[in-house]
């Protein structure tokens, strides 16, 4: 068979898709366990182990799977602290770890592909949040998202996404999705209102919002201060920005500090620190200069830090933390109550067997179609070409989904099936058009591609409203975007189909009928 330009294009895109699905270093050749969750207030977290890392060795013993990991961690069964060397693909943690360390880490198997499945398949939690008796404006929604992000980060949850959504009547929502697991007190966590407190000892000096007159968000005095290496090779960066307190809060600070003695270890400062709490969790502590003792000052500087495995990550984390902190300080606790308008917690138990069923179903569906084609045309070559083309469409969709990190949920799977279905339809059109011997073959294929393109155009415009791409026209993605997956995968599939796979199929058929 001669490989025409269109067939070459298909082959190249198929190879790229396979790389996109499995990555250049396929995961099934890799060994190790994936870290899914590390509790924030734990020694191992402070040492730099984070969700998303891949553990390859513990104490110089190769970790191939979860069993190896459990065996390595059983060292703690004596309830003693142990010195451990945990090697991940990006860094190494060597530290004395407390005996409760295994409880602070949740691990999982490495995923074979880069394809991500949706919550309805792999399990997890999803919540749609709106303000109670209040219409959230765009900027309020942005603040709400920043505050929630901060709160979830404090909780140590990283494998989650927070998105915006809106409905026909212009109500804004926040969509929170947490993959794989659902935290126990998810509802409380979501419904908290983002309270910032500055405390000295156990006395509150000021709270976010009401006691603050100004927060410097940018400018010379607000920003990153510097970055420093940790012992383990990871980095942390510090930031600071000034805020102005109300007279009242400043006076409160003066009253409290006047009673506190100068520190004996650190004579430059007073004995108690200024502690910052977000939703009652201690976030940072500042030394208070002895010059400020008993003095009414409305200007104070807020400090904080962010860390990461390398400098770029540390800078990013510090900048995010600064932005979130500023948001909380400005908005204070939310001026409205939140309500959960939709909450799903999907058990992951069915995930694996369901994926198998879907794959089997898809496989047998394509086989059934090929059988019908074989019965009708009695040519094994044609049936095979059709089989190959349908599989190519599947691989192109999956490759593209992996590339744009699209979560394949149930509606997306329906979309893939719809694409393959229309793909087969198009191929049948090509087959039949090419069989009319009255006009030239070229003419006939042209007619087939015209029919296919018209079908494509109708499907395209009828799916666009569901994607949310027409927000300007007031047509948001229906169902807060929960059904967007169907439209997106189908659009990817039929576009790839009409421009790549189906023309390539037409070329193959041309050659078969020349023979």
């Amino acid at each position: 068979m001669k490989l025409t330009f269109r067939i070459w294009l298909l082959i190249i895109l198929l190879l790229l898709s396979i790389v996109s699905i499995f990555s250049l270093t396929p995961a099934f050749l890799e060994k190790g366990v994936a870290v899914k969750f590390v509790e924030k207030n734990s020694t191992i977290f402070e040492q730099g182990l984070r969700a998303g890392m891949i553990i390859t060795q513990i104490n110089n013993v190769q970790i191939n799977d979860a069993n190896d990991y459990v065996k390595a961690m059983s060292i703690f069964s004596d309830n003693q602290d142990h010195k451990m060397a945990i090697t991940t693909k990006t860094n190494q943690v060597i530290a004395v770890l407390p005996s409760n360390t295994p409880d602070k880490i949740i691990i999982g198997a490495l995923s074979l592909t880069k394809i991500k499945t949706g919550l309805d398949i792999q399990g997890g939690a999803r919540a749609l949040i709106a303000a109670k008796d209040h219409k959230l404006t765009d900027s309020e929604l942005n603040d709400l998202i920043a505050i929630s992000q901060q709160r979830f980060n404090l909780f140590g949850l990283t494998d989650m996404s927070i998105k915006k959504a809106s409905d026909m009547s212009g109500n804004n929502f926040m969509v929170i999705e947490i993959a794989g697991s659902s935290p126990k007190d998810l509802e409380n966590l979501i419904l908290q209102q983002g309270k910032f407190e500055g405390k000295i000892g156990n006395k509150t000096v000021f709270t976010g919002g009401e006691d603050i007159t100004h927060v410097e968000r940018s400018g010379q005095q607000a920003g990153l201060e510097g970055c420093y290496p940790n012992q383990d090779g990871s980095e942390y960066c510090t930031f600071r920005f000034p805020i102005s307190l109300t007279e009242e809060a400043a006076k409160r600070q003066a009253d409290i500090t006047s009673t506190i003695p100068i520190s004996s270890e650190n004579p430059e400062y007073i004995a108690e620190k200024l502690d910052f709490y977000v939703d009652d969790t201690l976030m940072d502590s500042l030394f208070i200069s002895k010059d400020l003792k008993g003095k009414v000052t409305t200007q104070i500087s807020i400090q904080g830090s962010g860390s990461g495995p390398d400098r770029a990550e540390a800078i990013k984390s510090a900048q995010e933390n600064m932005k979130n902190l500023q948001t909380i300080l400005i908005t204070g606790s939310l001026p409205y109550k939140l309500e959960i308008v939709k909450l799903d917690t999907i058990s992951p138990v069915l995930g694996k067997s369901f994926t198998q069923a879907i794959l089997l179903g898809g496989l047998f569906a394509i086989l059934a179609v090929s059988l019908i084609i074989f019965v009708r045309y009695r040519k094994i070559k044609i049936s095979l070409a059709l089989l190959v083309t349908s599989f190519s469409e599947l691989i192109l969709i999956l490759g593209f989904a992996a590339l744009i990190k699209w979560n394949l949920d149930l509606p997306s799977i329906a979309g893939i099936i719809a694409t393959i279905g229309t793909g087969v339809d198009s191929q049948i059109v090509i087959l039949d058009e090419s069989r009319f011997k009255i006009v030239s073959l070229k003419e006939r294929i042209k007619k087939a591609l015209f029919i296919i393109f018209t079908s494509f155009a109708t499907a395209f415009v009828s799916l666009i409203p569901l994607t949310g791409a027409l927000q300007v026209m007031g047509i948001g993605a229906a169902g807060a975007g929960l059904l967007k997956g169907f439209a997106v995968t189908t659009l990817i599939g039929i576009t790839a189909g009409v421009f790549i796979t189906r023309p390539a199929f037409a070329d193959m058929i041309k050659q078969f009928s020349d023979e």
Partner: protein, 345 residues
């Protein structure tokens, strides 16, 4: 000989045959009207579109047993068992209009174990949000349908000026539905909606009968499928409404094939083209039905929204065979014979 007779019969009576689909469309519409008057809605909506809680528990307790035990404690409760393909029950589904906080403790009390993520899935949606989902999806299907028709018109109509007008009208139609439909008083909205629809149909009917035929056929598919869905008592979820979008896509495929074949034919008789298009089109529809039926068999035991999408598609595709090869075919033949006659004169 037999074939020739059919041919003759068809040539003589194809306009009469058109009465059959017309009658069925009218019956479907009448049924939907009756259904609306009874239920104040065009479908039975499931919990994802009315608001409430769905709890799925890994358990083989029988649905009736649970129903009798808890019917008094949980208001508006419905239970359903999920079976795998060997007929063994794997899960029990409890559906209620109440919130999960109310239902979970009662269920935990009854089952004697704690419901958590290892054994249970909980889905909850508030009633105002679900009502909005329903409205949005309705608008989405309406726009999808009219834009699909516009594309067919743009491709098959002759005059560029009209194509431009059709596109413009459809864009305005989209903006009206998206931005204004729900903010105007309902009678004004319905009046504007009707004006748009009548204008568009008038343009299609006057300037491109084939486009009108495609549109009518897709409309008939949707209306008839909706009637069947209502008759079998299916409770439609959001994803089920999306299945109607899929249906538009599939049904239009065969119509476009037929239209193109008949309109671009050289000297061959119309019936010849119709028959060859039928051979192609029926293969297309049968493969789609086979693929979806096979996929349904494999995913059915999991009781996901895919089941409903596939069932709606199967109903719609079956009805599409009737609509494409009777409704659309008779119309396009009428049109083709008329133009042929006009050009002879």
């Amino acid at each position: 000989m037999e074939l020739k007779k059919i041919n003759e019969f068809y040539n003589k009576n194809y306009k009469l045959i058109l009465l059959l689909p017309l009658l069925i469309i009218l019956i479907s519409l009448a049924y939907l009207g009756y259904f609306y008057s009874q239920n104040n809605d065009f479908v039975h909506r499931d919990i994802s579109l009315t608001g409430g809680t769905t709890i799925t528990i890994l358990s083989n307790i029988s649905s009736e047993e649970l129903q009798t035990a808890l019917a008094e404690k949980i208001p508006n409760m419905d239970t359903r068992a999920l079976l795998d393909n060997s007929g063994k029950q794997t899960q029990i589904i409890i559906i209620t209009s109440e919130e999960p906080e109310l239902v979970t403790p009662i269920l935990e009390d009854y089952f004697g174990f704690k419901l958590d993520e290892t054994n249970t899935s909980v889905e909850f949606i508030g009633s105002s949000l679900s009502a909005d989902f329903y409205k949005q999806l309705g608008i989405t299907v309406l726009i999808a349908f009219f834009w699909m028709a516009a594309v067919v018109f743009v491709i098959f109509a002759k005059k560029w000026k009209l194509k431009f007008i059709a596109i413009l009208l459809n864009l305005l139609f989209g903006i009206f539905l998206g931005k204004m439909f729900f903010s105007f008083p309902i009678y004004i909205s319905l009046f504007i909606l009707a004006t748009f629809i009548i204008t568009l149909i008038f343009i299609y009917l006057k300037y491109s009968i084939p486009s009108f035929a495609v549109m009518l056929c897709a409309f008939a598919d949707i209306i008839m499928t909706l009637a069947v869905v209502d008759i079998i008592g299916m409770k439609v979820a959001g994803a089920g409404i999306v299945a109607f979008l899929m249906l538009i896509g599939y049904s239009v495929d065969t119509d476009i094939l037929l239209t193109t074949r008949v309109l671009t034919r050289k000297d061959s008789p119309v019936n010849h083209e119709i028959f060859s298009a039928f051979k192609t089109g029926i293969t297309m529809t049968l493969t789609a039905i086979a693929a979806i039926a096979v996929a349904l068999f494999f995913v059915r035991p999991f009781g996901t929204v895919l089941n409903q999408m596939f069932i709606i598609l199967l109903i719609g595709l079956t009805l599409d065979i009737f609509n494409t090869w009777i409704t659309n075919t008779c119309l396009i033949k009428w049109f083709a014979e008329r133009t042929a006659e006009e050009s002879r004169l």
